[in-house]
Symmetry: D2
Subunit: 304 residues, 4 copies
């Protein structure tokens, strides 16, 4: 179980079966860096093309299609002071007739302070003044090589992960990905200092990050969609459009999880979910939207 | 400002311009009873046909189209011990191929204890045993007479409210409805002792309720969709299918609210919502689904 | 089997259990008039409020919930020379980012010539000049009283029919409606001299009509959605949003039809539909959209 | 302007920037072969993995991002006698509650007769007997390398084409693709001897084909979505889910086309489309659905 320090020199704007930048083993930890969605690094220099450029892929020894890759997000820390956000809600999240009311999009700037754990609005000047909001760093886009040798744009998401923009992908969370290609080929990028539900302005506070993660491998365990857990919840992720279908994917994956790992048949699982499930919204900005089906772990402490 | 005690003798399974059961005034409080979704009252006797039968309508003196009706939910208390839920997730919330995995639907029974504020699963017998979950009483279906003289089934929802099944409609919450008909004609019903997000088994814990509410009238203030607030948040509700459109309605209504009442132009509102908005899921079971766009009030304490 | 001449004196902008204007019998024919979507009659005088005002309802003696009402559209003839259309595609049929490219909506005027069976664009002046297109008169909005005592706006559609804006509802077509209320309560209105698929400008060529129809009753036959047939095809109609769900309703109704009336099990029906089905688009403008599942009758001439 | 005969030896189940199998020039014609969706060739031998394997890609000299590739479909001829179809409608095209009514999926066999231009159902034995239907050969899946270096599964579709399953892609049709990669990289495959709208059983009559096409290049002309034309119509294709969004893509592309090539501003184009547009349904089976916005050419014979 080694710790690898990896400094990226190139990036990918698709998630696919690209040449790995590093080979790591079950149990290994990686400390690395991600550029922001615009390709800007910790010195705010544009080092690659925009569009959620990814660090990686990391090849996990022994990972094969049909396995599950476990990615523990140990640390996600903004690596510079300045972050950027869109300044206007996306046309697809308002009523069609209201689109004309929207101004032109520009980039807003926020000063990010890791010590105080705050972001402060710097510009443009608005009635909000220097609004101060709490940090809640997360990864907007990350995932593994998709099936069938595909290379999928980091603008979107699917079974392999990708641009899900879910606030729940923060430090302390363990993420599970289905493995579709040898080595799994983990990509990470698109850090947000914080973000509202839905990423409705098309951005979180886009910023470069220092990222530390630890991988594990579950051989022979096949999941269909990304899953996650933290101290309080387990959750399953669905990526699709419309949101209705994302809900279907996430709920079906949760039912499968409750059956396989907790021994709950469809009736038991339904009784539990029906009165206790929570849904979170990932992005409603991309080609594919994201919904998350979530259940408190405390409810799973019956004898299984 | 009087308090009216009203015991219903008949119910409606549409929300429409029905004959009012009581005329009340701005500031008045009503204490009344609702039957459960199946038409069963506090003695668990079926007193009317099933389908979210509504108590009311209550005619609010002076309310006219173009006004806003304010409904403060003072108290929502289960009025019997037994509640019912569906036992299987609805076919529309799982992947189409997975529908065949679902068992037949039956009714589960829960014992509701107001003192302990818990619900305990009584039957069927499952691996969950006598699962105990916290109460969180709410109204699943309520609203005002819709526009154009319509009478709309209590199975669905629209601008006038209706069957939204949103957990946030609990005691302590203030709800705002657009007034479409003289007297507003408030209907209330479909109490749930608790409910998961999405009402994905087609029910909360369906139970009869004692309900107390207080109405106010805002003359000449025109809103488009139901809104609400509690101590911590303001929220706007969108009812439509697919969920994407419910998000559009709710977000547009929130933008209008922030502009009219808080003086935020589209850019300011976008900057705020973009990084701080939260979305909650009402039901994803009815013909129309419900999404709620929510903002912490603490963020609105700039000088307006 | 009588023929009734009925001249309307009032209209409805909901389809519901309104007082009938005429009681007719199985086999009877009605000759009547409809105003246009704006409430203008054959003399182009606004005689009622806008919004697809309906003539009727017509009470069909003996019709009860669980029956099917057959409406043969004998004749639909424009009753004046001038018709109106919207001049800009609706914001919901273009990409959200494109909405800003759309000009303000105004009303265009067309001269309708029944003898030549043409409509000629009169104004505004555009590069199209006096564009001449063929007439294809149809009913945009018609239907029967919906279930549960509902009164549903003529802006939308559901199982009872309503504002479907399907080009296929033309003279020579036989339409089947499920009966939900005693007497069925048939409403007719919203004539279009012609219309493109989808009613994407929110109108056909809106015009007053002379309408002749003949009703029949099929006792004890229960259908779920409107159906139709002409010399060449049978078709089933689904009304919902998104279009995906309208397709589901229409296809399911067609499968039920093929099973009940033609004895085709799901496999036979699938083999047939899979390679031969056609889908038509009704409106994609209303709250509920319309899709039509259609099959050539020639394919049903196996021995049944 | 040469004619190339190309016999494929390998195939791709993604459309992407794969090594070209042949370099051709503006004006060249290619005669080639495609295997069926299951990877079976003209001798009904499985020569590659299933999933719409593509012949190609063909590199068109001089094609660069920002150009338009013109593909004239000269000939599409079934190259064997036996074709296969699914035997049951897909779960996503029926109402969720109806899914349980569907039998298990098997493969049906059809005998294809090029001379008589018919397909005859061979098995399974059903009430349809040996149903005979007309041939209407088409390409289900074809397209060019997508943007951003992506490789996209041939199970789905997007701006680059892909698995659109549109009956209109038949011999005699000219197709236009946006060029996203040097050489355009045209892939062709997934021939259907015929197909119903929507490909609702998940297949047309899947069969190997002889395909002849001729390419042209329009330098510097940038389109966003596939377009096509035949003797009677021009059409624009949108690929997305839900269908509503596919309609938005297709309609927006048509508006752009009418503006750029026919000089119609948004009002003129709306007046024309509003009363004359037709929509066709491509597949409603894939992850991305397909809708086609179509206009008769006769209407475009004003002076432009």
């Amino acid at each position: 179980m080694s710790t690898h320090n990896f400094q990226p020199t190139h990036y990918h704007t698709t998630i696919g079966s690209h040449d790995p930048v590093l080979r790591i083993s079950d149990g290994d930890t990686v400390v690395t860096a991600t550029v922001d969605a615009f390709g800007k690094d910790a010195s705010n220099t544009e080092v690659t093309t925009r569009g959620n450029p990814q660090t990686g892929p990391f090849y996990v020894e022994g990972a094969e299609p049909g396995d599950t890759l476990v990615v523990q997000l140990d640390r996600i820390t903004p690596s510079r002071e300045i972050g950027y956000t869109g300044s206007v809600v996306a046309p697809n999240v308002v009523d069609p007739w209201y689109v004309r009311e929207l101004p032109e999009r520009e980039l807003a700037e926020w000063r990010v302070d890791n010590e105080c754990a705050t972001a402060t609005l710097i510009k443009p000047e608005t009635k909000l003044g220097n609004l101060v909001i709490p940090l809640s760093p997360m990864l907007g886009c990350f995932g593994v090589a998709p099936p069938r040798g595909q290379a999928i744009s980091t603008a979107t998401s699917a079974e392999h992960g990708g641009n899900m923009d879910y606030r729940g992908f923060a430090a302390g969370v363990t993420v599970y990905f289905p493995v579709f290609a040898p080595g799994a080929l983990l990509h990470v990028g698109d850090g947000h200092a914080t973000q509202g539900d839905g990423e409705i302005v098309g951005t979180g506070i886009e910023i470069s990050m220092e990222v530390q993660f630890t991988v594990r491998l579950i051989k022979g365990k096949q999941i269909r969609w990304p899953r996650g857990e933290d101290a309080e919840h387990i959750f399953a992720v669905g990526n699709a459009r419309p949101l209705d279908q994302a809900v279907q994917h996430a709920t079906t994956e949760m039912l499968r999880w409750l059956k396989e790992d907790y021994g709950l048949d469809a009736t038991s699982a339904s009784l539990l979910l029906g009165q206790c499930v929570e849904y979170d919204l990932g992005n409603i900005f991309d080609p594919a939207y994201t919904m998350v089906c979530k259940l408190p772990k405390a409810l799973l402490r019956f004898s299984h």
